[in-house]
């Protein structure tokens, strides 16, 4: 009697032909070991190990799945591997860029006076001395930092009113008129203008109006505005659109004028999104190089006047220090300064991005419930 009651372990038809749960881990371990072994034969490096192991892992898992589970599941596994692989590949340049900038930029940034001196009077002779006799690295990015801040602030002062008012027109007054549709279309077109063309436009306009060869910080600010306005319009428009219509109707019902409604009800509701959109727009233009290069030139001295004279900025400083080192025979000090400036620029951009998120969170309208 007892013998007949012994449960017979039989795999259900539903779970038949499945890989065990631990299958990916087993294949991963095998692939890593095999990969290391193969790389050990031809010379080990971490990047190659990753690539070889990934290929082995994919082949192993898909092959196993093909044998046990059949073609359809194997294809699914292959697609999953490829998609995850694509994501990992996309991360490689991100970390590589950040790592390169950190490693190369920190020594430059930590030089005394790097943030507080300009390149005024720093010649190749000093750089040769730095390399040959170990003299301290001279010169810094103060003038470029000043230039970037001044140009960006001026560009923001031009772009934000124009962009914000346009967004208000599109959302509150446009009502799908031909003009509103034309503006929407051309704002889209503007987002696609290559940055160097924006720079050329500002240069061409000032050459024609003020005089040939006009290169000042203000021209650069106009060029950056051409790039910044469409971003501000787009983000503000999206934010104004999601303000609930009930709020506007409630204000109108209380007899509030349309412009007061917009200023006191609509804008405060959307302000968090608008402010973070503007911050992101600033982050976008602060790193633009090409338009500044053709509109403000590059300078080695401090120039606090945006309306006259060439002006340095962080991106053009990086560009010129790499392409035309201060001392052509010893480019190392120049590249150290360039990387230091690149690190400062990345920190600025990341802070602005972070700031945009914080602004969005802090100024978000209180829901009350």
């Amino acid at each position: 009697m007892t013998a007949t009651l012994t449960p017979v372990r039989k795999r259900s038809a539903l779970t038949k032909g499945q890989l065990p749960k631990a299958a990916p881990y087993i294949v991963l371990a095998v692939a890593l070991i095999l990969g290391a072994a193969i790389l050990a034969l031809i010379g080990f490096n971490a990047f190659g190990w990753g690539i070889v192991s990934a290929i082995l892992f994919t082949a192993g898992l898909v092959g196993w799945s093909l044998v046990v589970e059949g073609v359809r599941k194997a294809k699914d596994k292959l697609a999953t591997c490829l998609v995850v692989g694509a994501f990992l590949i996309a991360l490689v340049p991100l970390f590589s860029v950040i790592w390169t900038v950190l490693v190369n930029g920190l020594p430059g940034l930590l030089d005394p006076g790097f943030l507080t001196t300009s390149m005024n009077g720093v010649t190749g002779a000093f750089d040769n001395k730095t390399v040959e006799e170990g003299a301290p690295l001279l010169g810094g990015i103060y003038h470029a930092l000043m230039g970037t801040l001044l140009i960006t602030v001026l560009a923001t002062l031009i772009s934000v009113p124009v962009g914000l008012l346009t967004a208000i027109y599109l959302v509150e007054y446009g009502e799908d008129r031909a003009l509103a549709r034309a503006i929407t279309f051309f704002v889209d077109v503007m987002t696609g203008i290559p940055s160097i063309v924006a720079g050329l436009f500002a240069a061409a306009a000032f050459f024609a109006v003020v005089g040939p060869g006009t290169k000042t910080g203000a021209v650069a600010a106009v060029a950056l505005s051409v790039l910044m306005i469409p971003v501000v319009v787009r983000s503000s428009e999206e934010m104004l659109k999601i303000v609930p219509n009930e709020l506007r109707e409630a204000a109108y019902a209380l007899g509030v004028r349309k412009w007061r409604t917009i200023l006191k009800v609509v804008l405060p509701t959307a302000i968090s999104g608008i402010a973070s959109g503007i911050t992101l727009a600033i982050a976008r233009v602060i790193g633009e190089t090409a338009p500044i290069l053709v509109t403000a030139g590059f300078a080695t001295t401090i120039n606090a006047n945006v309306f006259s004279g060439w002006m340095a900025s962080l991106p053009t400083f990086i560009y010129t220090q790499i392409l035309n080192p201060t001392s052509p025979s010893n480019p190392d000090p120049s590249s150290e300064r360039a990387w230091g400036a690149a690190l400062v620029l990345i920190i600025l951009v990341m802070l602005l991005n972070l700031g945009a998120r914080l602004i969005a969170r802090i100024f978000a309208p209180k829901t009350g419930r």
Partner: protein
């Protein structure tokens, strides 16, 4: 008394209304004027180069002989960028929209967006200081083993500062743009389609192939076109990475040049007719990117009307 204050406030409110709506209208019109100005000023400043006798232009054979190698070079660099970036971007977008755990997805999307936040000049510096050095051995390998293909004809550049390196850097730069656009489109796939496919027993990949990709195809095309627009106009990466030269078919030799990089490298020191020539080159670039972007936008708007997703 109440009536007067009411009328008063009404008067103030009315003029406020008028001033405010006029201000918004003016801002909107200003944008149209600016864009018109872009075209107008570029044309005015470019005209001298277009009508100048051929021997005055750099190269001595007229503007069009000067510009066409640059146009081809620009297209080569952009096509390399797209060939590399498109499959990876679609993979990343699928990963974030359909594969990654829901809680991680938005954070991972933000990480990819960080790629877009890094300034182009930093990419250029990275390309010339890191990528070109690391990648030049593989160019030697390509020249040795694939040299029978015209695009990999040796001898490979020793510095790695070639159009292929520039294209790879451009690929990294357009990747976040294509990713974020396609991700949005994939997320708009009607949930019912996806669930219907899964309910019929489709695996995840079959579900994606049958519902997500067909639904997203116009979106993918336009995202790639917008990425192309960005790659065409990208300046700094190419200006720093590529050691330019005459037009060559080989991607791993020194040579080729793009319009944007040509302008950036020469404009600061240019004077006289050279300025006009470079502005004319900028005009050509503007027209090309404008065409690409308008086609992309056209696809998006047409798709919006028929999709029923919104």
């Amino acid at each position: 008394m109440t009536t007067t204050s009411l009328t008063k406030s009404r008067g103030a409110g009315q003029s406020g209304d008028k001033v405010f709506s006029a201000a918004t209208l003016a801002a909107g019109c200003l944008i149209l004027v600016v864009l018109f100005g872009v075209a107008l000023f570029l044309v005015i400043q470019a005209l001298p180069a277009l009508v100048a006798p051929g021997d005055k232009i750099q190269g001595g054979e007229g503007f069009f002989t000067y510009i066409w190698p640059l146009v081809i070079g620009t297209l080569i660099a952009s096509v390399i960028a797209l060939v590399i970036a498109t499959p990876i971007a679609i993979g990343v977008a699928l990963f974030i929209s359909h594969f990654a755990p829901r809680k991680l997805a938005s954070g991972l999307g933000y990480v990819i967006d960080l790629l877009a936040a890094i300034p182009s000049v930093v990419y250029g510096a990275w390309g010339v200081a890191f990528l070109a050095k690391e990648i030049s051995p593989s160019y030697n390998w390509l020249a040795g083993n694939m040299g029978w293909l015209p695009i990999f004809q040796g001898p490979a550049s020793a510095t790695g500062k070639t159009i292929l390196t520039a294209g790879i850097v451009l690929a990294v730069m357009v990747l976040p743009i294509i990713t974020s656009l396609t991700r949005e489109i994939f997320l708009q796939t009607p949930k019912l389609h996806e669930e219907a496919a899964l309910a019929l027993g489709a695996t995840r990949w079959e579900m994606i192939r049958m519902t997500v990709l067909p639904f997203g195809r116009p979106g993918i095309i336009s995202a790639v076109m917008l990425g192309l627009g960005r790659a065409l106009g990208e300046t700094m990466a190419v200006a720093l990475v590529l050691s330019s030269g005459a037009l060559t078919a080989s991607l791993i030799q020194t040579g080729n040049q793009t319009i944007a990089a040509e302008i950036a490298l020469n404009f600061p020191e240019a004077s006289g007719l050279k300025v006009n020539t470079l502005i004319a080159a900028g005009l050509v670039l503007f027209v090309i990117t404008l065409g690409v972007n308008m086609i992309a936008r056209g696809i998006i708007t047409r798709h919006k009307e028929f999709s029923g997703a919104n």
